[in-house]
Amino acid sequence: MSLLAVEGLGATLGRRRVVDGVSLCVGRGECVGLIGPNGAGKSTLMRAALGLIPAEGTRRLGGEAVARLSPVERARRAAWLPQEREIAWALSVEALVSLGRGPWLRPGRGPGPADRAAVTAALARTDLTAFRARPATALSGGERARALIARALAQEAPLLVADEPTAGLDPAHQLSLMETFAGLAAEGRGVLASLHDLALAARWCTRLVLLDGGRVAAEGPPRAVLTPERLGSVYGIRARLDWDGEAPVVQPIATLRPMGESDVGRSGAGG
C-alpha cells in the first residue's frame, strides 16, 4: 500500500492549467524528489495531492481517498511543509515545534509525554535544541526554516511532503536535512520533497519525478532521469554530470538559450 497515490491529477489556478494528468505514488521507504523548473507546477501538485486545493483525478493517502478523510485524519497521515516560511507571532521555538502535535492532541488536553518526546526528537534532528526557548521570530532565515522543518517532523506522520525544504539552509544543514529524510525513509516512512539542487536530489533521493509544464517529463532513478538531453530540453541548461565519484555531481555550466525565449516557449506549452 502506498502512502500517497494520485492518478490523472489536474489542477487549475485562476484560469491557468497548472497540473495536468499527473500520476505519482510514494511508498514506504522511499524518498522521492520532485524536480522541475520554476512554474512547472511542483507546489500545486503537492498541495492538490494533499487535498488542500480542489483538483480532478483520484487522490489517496495511505490507501484512503482524500475526500473521505477528515482534516485531522489527513494530518495524521501526511505532514506538509509549505514553501512560505510564515511565523506570525513570537512563539518560542519549542512552542512552534509543538504545533506539529496538534493533530494528535485530544480535545481540551495538553501535550503528554509522547508529544514532548516527539518535540524533543524533532529539535535534536534539526540541531535546534539549544534554541528551544528563543522566540522563533528572532531566528535567522535558515534557523527559522529548520524550526518549521522540526514542526513538520514532530507531526510524526508516515508521509512528509516538503516544498523546497533545503532553500536557505547552509551546506551542512542541507546535508543533514537530506540525511534526516533518508533516515525517515529507512524507518519505513515516505518523503516527497521538491528540490532545486539537482546534486542533492541525485544523491539522496531514491527516485526522481521531473515535472515540466504541469506534466511528468520523466520518472525513475536519479541517473536515468538526469540526462544531458533532458537537462537541455526541460531546464534549458548544459551541465557537467559525473556519477562515478564519492557523490554524484550535477553542475550547471551554461544556459542553452536566452531566458526570454524559453519563457515564451514554456507559456505556449501551458506554463
Partner: protein
C-alpha cells in the same frame, strides 16, 4: 519558570485584579455610601435607598463593565489571532459600526424615546446585518487563499458605509437634542444602565464567548499560515464562521448596551501577548480578563475624575489608549533598530 507556569500566574494575577476592580466599581458613586453600608445593602438588603443604589444602579453597571471589557479583550485577541495582524480590533469587521448605525436610527426615528429597549435592540439588529453583509462580501470557504485579507477588505467597506449612513442620520437629525443624544451615545458609557440591559446583552455575550473559546488550537496552528494550518487538521471555513460569529454576537451586544468603546480590544491583546509566550490560545483568556480589568478601571476613573460630569467611557479609553499605543509603537521600533 516554565512557559505554562508563567501563563497560569499571569491568569491568576489578572483574575485578582479584575475581582478588586469589580469591588471598586461597586463602591464608587455619588451616593457616598461607606464600605459597611454598601455591603449590607448589597448582600443583606439593609437600608432602603442604599439597596436601590447598590442592586439597581451599581451592580448592573459593574456587571456590564466586566462583561463588555471581557468581550472587547477576547474579541480583539481572537481577531488578531485569526487575521494574524496585531492591528486588528473588534470594530474591523463592521460589527461596531453596524451596531452604532442601528442605535442612531433608533434615536433618529424617536423609537428610543418611546420604548427604552428599542435602542439596544436596533443596535443588535444593525450588528447582525453588518456581519452578514461582511460574510456575504468576503465569501465562504477560504480555500483559494487570501481568506483573511478578503475579510478585512469587506469589513472596511461595510464599516465605511455604515459610518456614512450614521453621518447622514446626524446630518438630517430632526432636532438638535436628537443630534446631541446620537453624539453622546457614540462616545460610549455605562452610566444609568439597568438589569434590563444586562438581561438583553449577557446571553449574546455568553454565546459569543462560547464560540470564541473554541478557537484556541486553530488560532495556534494559524501562526504557520492558512495552508499549514489546513494541513494540520484545522477546518478553516468553520474557524472563520466561529471567529466572525463570536465577535459579532459579543461585540454587537456590548456596543448595543455601552456604545462604541475603542482601543481596549486593540491595546489589551498587544500588552498581554509577551506575558503568555505569544500563543494565541493562551492570549484568549488573558486578554478577556485584561479587557475586563481595563474597562472596570476606566469606568471607576470616569466616576472619580469628573463626578457629576458624566465623563464618557469611550473618550477616556481613547485619551489613555492612543498615547499608550504610540508608546507601544516606539518600543517596537527600538526593538527593530
Amino acid at each position: 519558570m516554565s512557559e505554562a507556569a508563567r501563563g497560569r500566574w499571569t491568569l491568576a494575577t489578572l483574575a485578582a485584579v479584575v475581582a478588586a476592580l469589580f469591588a471598586a466599581s461597586l463602591l464608587t458613586g455619588p451616593a457616598g455610601l461607606d464600605l459597611g453600608e454598601s455591603l449590607a445593602a448589597l448582600v443583606a438588603g439593609e437600608g432602603e435607598a442604599a439597596v436601590l443604589v447598590m442592586r439597581e444602579i451599581r451592580l448592573p453597571r459593574a456587571i456590564l463593565g466586566l462583561a463588555v471589557g471581557a468581550t472587547l479583550g477576547l474579541s480583539g485577541a481572537a481577531l488578531q489571532g485569526y487575521l494574524r495582524n496585531p492591528l486588528a480590533e473588534p470594530g474591523l469587521i463592521g460589527v461596531s459600526s453596524g451596531a452604532a448605525l442601528g442605535a442612531v436610527l433608533a434615536i433618529h426615528a424617536g423609537l428610543s424615546a418611546a420604548f427604552p429597549l428599542a435602542l439596544p435592540l436596533m443596535a443588535l439588529a444593525g450588528a447582525g446585518l453588518a456581519v452578514l453583509a461582511v460574510l456575504a462580501l468576503a465569501g465562504g470557504a477560504p480555500t483559494a487563499g487570501g481568506g483573511a485579507l478578503t475579510l478585512i477588505l469587506a469589513g472596511v467597506a461595510v464599516t465605511s458605509f455604515c459610518g456614512a449612513l450614521t453621518s447622514l442620520a446626524l446630518n438630517l437629525s430632526p432636532n438638535p437634542f436628537a443630534a446631541l443624544e446620537i453624539v453622546f451615545w457614540m462616545l460610549g458609557s455605562l452610566a444609568d444602565r439597568s438589569f434590563l440591559h444586562v438581561q438583553l446583552a449577557l446571553p449574546f455575550m455568553l454565546a459569543g464567548w462560547a464560540m470564541l473559546a473554541t478557537l484556541g488550537r486553530g488560532l495556534d496552528a494559524l501562526t504557520l499560515g492558512e495552508d499549514a494550518a489546513a494541513s494540520l487538521g484545522v477546518r478553516l471555513g468553520r474557524l472563520r464562521l466561529l471567529a466572525v460569529g463570536g465577535v459579532a454576537a459579543s461585540v454587537g451586544a456590548a456596543t448595543a448596551v455601552a456604545g462604541a468603546i475603542g482601543f481596549v480590544g486593540l491595546v489589551v491583546p498587544h500588552l498581554l501577548r509577551p506575558l503568555v509566550g505569544a500563543r494565541p490560545s493562551a492570549l484568549l483568556p488573558a486578554s478577556a480578563l485584561g479587557g475586563a480589568a481595563v474597562l472596570l478601571a476606566a469606568d471607576v476613573a470616569a466616576r472619580l475624575l469628573a463626578p457629576g460630569q458624566d465623563l464618557k467611557l469611550g473618550v477616556l479609553t481613547a485619551i489613555v489608549g492612543a498615547p499608550f499605543f504610540l508608546w507601544l509603537v516606539a518600543r517596537h521600533r527600538r526593538g527593530l533598530a
